[in-house]
C-alpha cells in the first residue's frame, strides 16, 4: 500500500496508483478552529499555527496538505509584493489581512518604481518577517512529518503570482482596465513584479534548499480572454515556472478558464489546482495537467457527508482513470467545513477510488 505522497507522485506521472490521492489545501481559515482562536491571533502566534497544522495532519494522516497548507501564515498570500513596493496591509480580527494602500495609483508610479530598482525581499516590506517565520517553521516542524510528506524542505510558495500580485499593487479593476488603456506601462510593471517574485523565490530557496515543489497561485487568467492571457499573463507565469523547471510545479487557480483551455494548456506546470466552475472531463481531455480539484469549497462546508460522498464519486468516476488526478477541493478549504465532510471524501475514495476505477 502506498502512502499519500507516493500515490500523488505516481498519479502525477499519468500512472494509476493503488487509490486516488487526497491532496488538500487547509490553512488558517479552517485551522483557526482547531487552534480555538480568532484569525488575527492565529496569524500572530506562530507556535499555535504549527500546532494546528500538526493536529490536522494527525487527524488526517492520509491527506497531503501540499506546500501552502504547511507554510507559516503571515499575510503571505497577499502581502509580500505590495508591501515590497511601498503598499500597506491591514489586519482584521477575524478575516485574512488585505491590501489597504496600493503603491500604484497613476501610470507615473510604475516609472518611479522601475527607477527605484528591485526591492530586496530580505529587507523590504513584510517579506523579511515572513522569511523569519519560515525559518522558525524549519527549526521546529517535526523532521519525521516533514520527510514523510515532503513538507517545507525544497517547497517554495511565494504568495500570489506575478500577474495577480501586480494587480494587488493597484487594484484588480485598474490592472484590467490598463490592459487596454496603458498596455506598455502594464508590461513594464509586470516585468518588474516577475523579476521581484523570482528574487523572492530565491530568498525562500536559501532557507528551504533547492526547489523541489513550487506552488504558485495566480487567478488573473480567469479574468481575461485568451488574447490578454497570451499577451500579459502567460509569459510571466511561464518565466517563473521555467525558472524552476525540474521541480514539481503547481499552478493554483480555481477561477474559471474553461473558455480558453488550449491557451491555459501552454502553462509550463505539472499540476493545475482547478476550480468547481470548470468541467473536470474537459479539463482533463484538453490539457496536459495533473488535475487537483474540484469540489466546491463553500458547498463542501454546507453539504451533508452523504452528498459529499456522492459528489466525490462522480468526480472520481469521471476524472480519475489513467491517473493525473488528485482529489481535492476546487480552491482552499472554506471556513466552517465540517471534518466529517473530509472523512466523506475518504469514504468515496474507499468505495469508488481504488484503481482500476470501475464505473
Amino acid at each position: 500500500m502506498l502512502d499519500v505522497l507516493e500515490r500523488a507522485l505516481t498519479s502525477l506521472e499519468g500512472k494509476e496508483p493503488d487509490e486516488v490521492p487526497v491532496v488538500l489545501l487547509v490553512y488558517g481559515l479552517v485551522l483557526k478552529s482547531i487552534a480555538g482562536v480568532s484569525e488575527y491571533e492565529y496569524y500572530q502566534d506562530l507556535d499555535l499555527q504549527l500546532k494546528a497544522k500538526l493536529e490536522f495532519q494527525r487527524m488526517f494522516p492520509d491527506v497531503w496538505n501540499v506546500t501552502m497548507g504547511t507554510y507559516p501564515e503571515y499575510a503571505e498570500f497577499v502581502g509580500p509584493m505590495p508591501t515590497a513596493f511601498g503598499g500597506e496591509i491591514e489586519w482584521l480580527e477575524d478575516a485574512p489581512p488585505y491590501v489597504s494602500e496600493y503603491p500604484i495609483k497613476e501610470p507615473e508610479d510604475v516609472d518611479r518604481l522601475v527607477e527605484a530598482g528591485i526591492p530586496d525581499p530580505r529587507t523590504d516590506g513584510i517579506a523579511p518577517e515572513f522569511l523569519k517565520r519560515l525559518q522558525y517553521f524549519l527549526d521546529n516542524f517535526p523532521k519525521d512529518i516533514r520527510e514523510k510528506y515532503n513538507y517545507l524542505d525544497g517547497n517554495i510558495y511565494p504568495g500570489l503570482g506575478p500577474s495577480e500580485g501586480a494587480s494587488l499593487c493597484m487594484g484588480y479593476d485598474t490592472f484590467l482596465v490598463w490592459m487596454r488603456l496603458h498596455p506598455d506601462v502594464l508590461h513594464k510593471w509586470l516585468d518588474l513584479t516577475t523579476t521581484w517574485l523570482i528574487k523572492y523565490c530565491e530568498a525562500i530557496e536559501e532557507l528551504v534548499g533547492k526547489c523541489k515543489i513550487l506552488f504558485l497561485p495566480d487567478h488573473s487568467a480567469s479574468m481575461v480572454g485568451d488574447k490578454f492571457f497570451n499577451e500579459f499573463i502567460l509569459p510571466r507565469l511561464n518565466r517563473i515556472f521555467k525558472h524552476y523547471k525540474g521541480a514539481l510545479r503547481i499552478w493554483h487557480n480555481e477561477g474559471s478558464v474553461g473558455h480558453m483551455l488550449s491557451a491555459v494548456d501552454k502553462i509550463d506546470a505539472e499540476v493545475w489546482h482547478f476550480g468547481p466552475f470548470d468541467d473536470s472531463i474537459e479539463c482533463k481531455k484538453k490539457t496536459h495537467f495533473c488535475l487537483m480539484g474540484n469540489i466546491h469549497p463553500p458547498w463542501l462546508a454546507k453539504a451533508t457527508p452523504a452528498e459529499v460522498e456522492e459528489a466525490c464519486k462522480e468526480l472520481i468516476l469521471n476524472t480519475a482513470s489513467g491517473g493525473k488526478f488528485w482529489l481535492s477541493t476546487g480552491g482552499g478549504m472554506a471556513p466552517g467545513t465540517p471534518f466529517d465532510n473530509i472523512r466523506a471524501m475518504f469514504k468515496a475514495v474507499e468505495k469508488y477510488g481504488k484503481y482500476p476505477i470501475k464505473r
Partner: protein, 218 residues
C-alpha cells in the same frame, strides 16, 4: 443624423473603442443632442449589449470592466449637460451601493453600478470599507428603493458583517422600505444574514432590482 451618431456610439461601446465613444459623445453634445438621448439611446443600450456579450462568454471580466470604465468616461462628459437636464431623465429607482467594512474590493460593485445605471437607476456609491451605520443613514436620507452591499472572495469572513447592515437598517427604521441585496462570493444565503436577496451574478441582481421597483410602482 442623431440616429446615426447614436448607433455609432452603441457600436463603439460594444467594440470597447474608448476614443471613438468619447469623441462621438463630445460631437453629439456639440450638435445639441440632449444628454437624455445620448444616455437612453446610446450609452445604455451599448452597455446592455456589452453585458449580454459577457453573459454569452464572448466577453470576459476585463472587457466588462472596461465597458463600465468607458461608459463612466462618457457620463463624465455629459455631467454639465445632465445638471441642466437631470429632471428630464426618467429615474427607475435609487440605488445605494457599498463594500462592507474591512474590505476594499470593488470590481463587482463597479460592474453592478454600471449595469444599474444602464437600466435607469440613480446611483449613490458610498465606496469601500463602509460602516453599517453610514449605509443605513444614506438609505434613509435619499429614500433608496434598492441597497446592495458586497464583499470579496478574498475576505470571506467579512460576509457576516451583512447582518450588522440589517440591524442598522432596522435601527434607522428603513429595513422594510428597501430591497436589501448582498453580493460577492457564494458563501452565504440571504436568510443567513437577514438580507432579501443574495447573488454573485450582477445580471441576476439587476433583474431582481427591476422586478422590485416595478412591483412597488404598481
Amino acid at each position: 443624423m442623431a440616429e446615426k451618431l447614436l448607433k455609432d456610439l452603441i457600436d463603439a461601446i460594444i467594440k470597447l473603442d474608448i476614443e471613438k465613444a468619447t469623441n462621438l459623445t463630445k460631437s453629439m453634445i456639440d450638435k445639441g443632442i440632449t444628454a437624455r438621448e445620448i444616455i437612453l439611446d446610446g450609452i445604455m443600450p451599448g452597455m446592455k449589449a456589452v453585458g449580454e456579450m459577457y453573459e454569452r462568454k464572448d466577453y470576459f471580466l476585463s472587457d466588462l470592466l472596461f465597458g463600465a470604465y468607458l461608459s463612466e468616461e462618457c457620463f463624465k462628459l455629459l455631467e454639465p449637460l445632465l445638471a441642466k437636464e437631470i429632471k428630464k431623465v426618467p429615474i427607475k429607482g435609487k440605488l445605494v451601493i457599498a463594500t462592507v467594512k474591512g474590505d476594499i474590493h470593488d470590481i463587482g460593485k463597479k460592474i453592478f453600478t454600471s449595469l444599474m445605471r444602464a437600466e435607469g437607476f440613480e446611483i449613490y456609491d458610498l465606496g469601500v470599507d463602509i460602516s453599517a451605520e453610514t449605509i443605513a443613514e444614506k438609505v434613509k436620507e435619499i429614500e433608496a428603493e434598492v441597497l446592495i452591499v458586497g464583499t470579496s472572495a478574498l475576505l470571506s469572513t467579512t460576509a457576516p458583517y451583512f447582518k450588522d447592515v440589517h440591524e442598522a437598517l432596522e435601527k434607522a427604521g428603513v429595513r422594510d422600505k428597501v430591497l436589501f441585496m448582498t453580493g460577492g462570493p457564494p458563501i452565504v444565503t440571504a436568510d443567513e444574514v437577514n438580507a432579501d436577496f443574495y447573488t454573485n451574478n450582477a445580471f441576476v441582481g439587476v433583474k431582481r432590482a427591476l422586478e422590485y421597483v416595478n412591483k412597488k410602482k404598481q
